[in-house]
């Protein structure tokens, strides 16, 4: 059994962060479109946000003195797992409608699961966080599940 999955860690399941509300601007969409190398004019002109724009919109804006020495902002939704190192995981996104300039969007994140699997080189710990984004009228815009893997 996984020694790393102590009760203190598992007690984090169900914790939430937010709500965080952000205003979508054409300028931010255009910057993101250029940075990601988009080629479709609706993205480059800022008429519509590329489908991963929310990653930038809701990235935490952290002061420099709160960054770790490696420049990383600690995300309280992804707790440290004793003896493990986080690796980039993956995302699963369900889209309800495109994001456009002028949208006022609110995100709420929930730590939905922590579990362990046996890999070829020892155990892997998975932490899942779901982000729900709604617009000013409360309509769903998208849902994103991030899975981070700790080796």
């Amino acid at each position: 059994m996984g020694a790393s999955l102590d009760p203190e860690l598992l007690a984090r399941i169900g914790s939430t962060s937010g709500p965080q509300t952000e205003i979508v601007t054409r300028r931010d969409i255009r910057k993101y479109a250029i940075a990601t190398g988009q080629r479709l004019s609706r993205f480059l002109d800022g008429e519509e946000a590329p489908p991963t724009f929310h990653v930038a919109l809701f990235w935490p804006v952290v002061p420099m003195d709160q960054l770790a020495p490696d420049g990383v902002a600690l995300d309280p939704m992804f707790p440290r797992v004793p003896g493990k190192r986080p690796m980039a995981g993956g995302l699963k996104i369900e889209y309800h409608r495109p994001i456009r300039p002028g949208d006022v969007l609110t995100s709420t994140r929930t730590l939905t699961n922590i579990y362990e699997k046996q890999g070829s080189s020892g155990s892997l710990v998975f932490i899942e966080v779901v982000m729900r984004i709604v617009d000013a009228s409360g309509e769903m815009v998208l849902t994103e599940k991030t899975t981070r893997i700790y080796r």
């Binding site: 910057k31 940075a35 990601t36 080629r39 930038a56 990235w59 490696d70 902002a73 996104i93 889209y95």
Partner: protein
């Protein structure tokens, strides 16, 4: 760009045009600035190699994911959009890598007007770094 796909005639197995990516320091700067991400592995070469032990600056995982969405949307044109999308960062990509996106239609559901697209980023060694899946939803004609 090739002709806009049509859900009425689309077949499983259809290849989706890919694209070559050669990310450079300017793109990594713009991308991380757009996020407000100060993770040194994306811009601080001495730190990335000497302290963290990577061979070169690391291409951000979510940027690779974005490139998979571009593969689908450029192919779709004005025929539709994404219903859902998922990917995982299986292997790191580094500055200097020559990366390719590519895709293939896995299945077609004409009643729902949806197609499942298998996607991947492949590096210069032919290794799949970033596999993904998208569900494309075709607009009503």
């Amino acid at each position: 760009m090739s002709a806009t796909p049509d859900i009425a005639t689309l077949e499983a197995g259809t290849e989706i045009p890919g694209r070559e990516f050669r990310p450079d320091t300017v793109q990594l700067f713009f991308y991380n600035a757009a996020l407000w991400n100060a993770d040194r592995i994306h811009f601080d070469h001495p730190h990335t190699t000497a302290v963290e032990g990577y061979p070169a600056l690391v291409v951000p995982g979510p940027l690779l994911g974005d490139w998979l969405t571009q593969c689908v949307l450029e192919w779709l044109g004005d025929a539709g959009g994404l219903a859902s999308f998922e990917y995982s960062n299986r292997r790191a990509c580094y500055l200097g890598d020559v990366l390719h996106s590519r895709g293939r239609v896995v299945s077609v559901d004409r009643d729902r007007r949806e197609a499942v697209i298998g996607l991947e980023i492949v590096n210069q060694a032919g290794e799949v770094t970033t596999p993904g899946t998208a569900v494309a939803r075709f607009s009503r004609g």
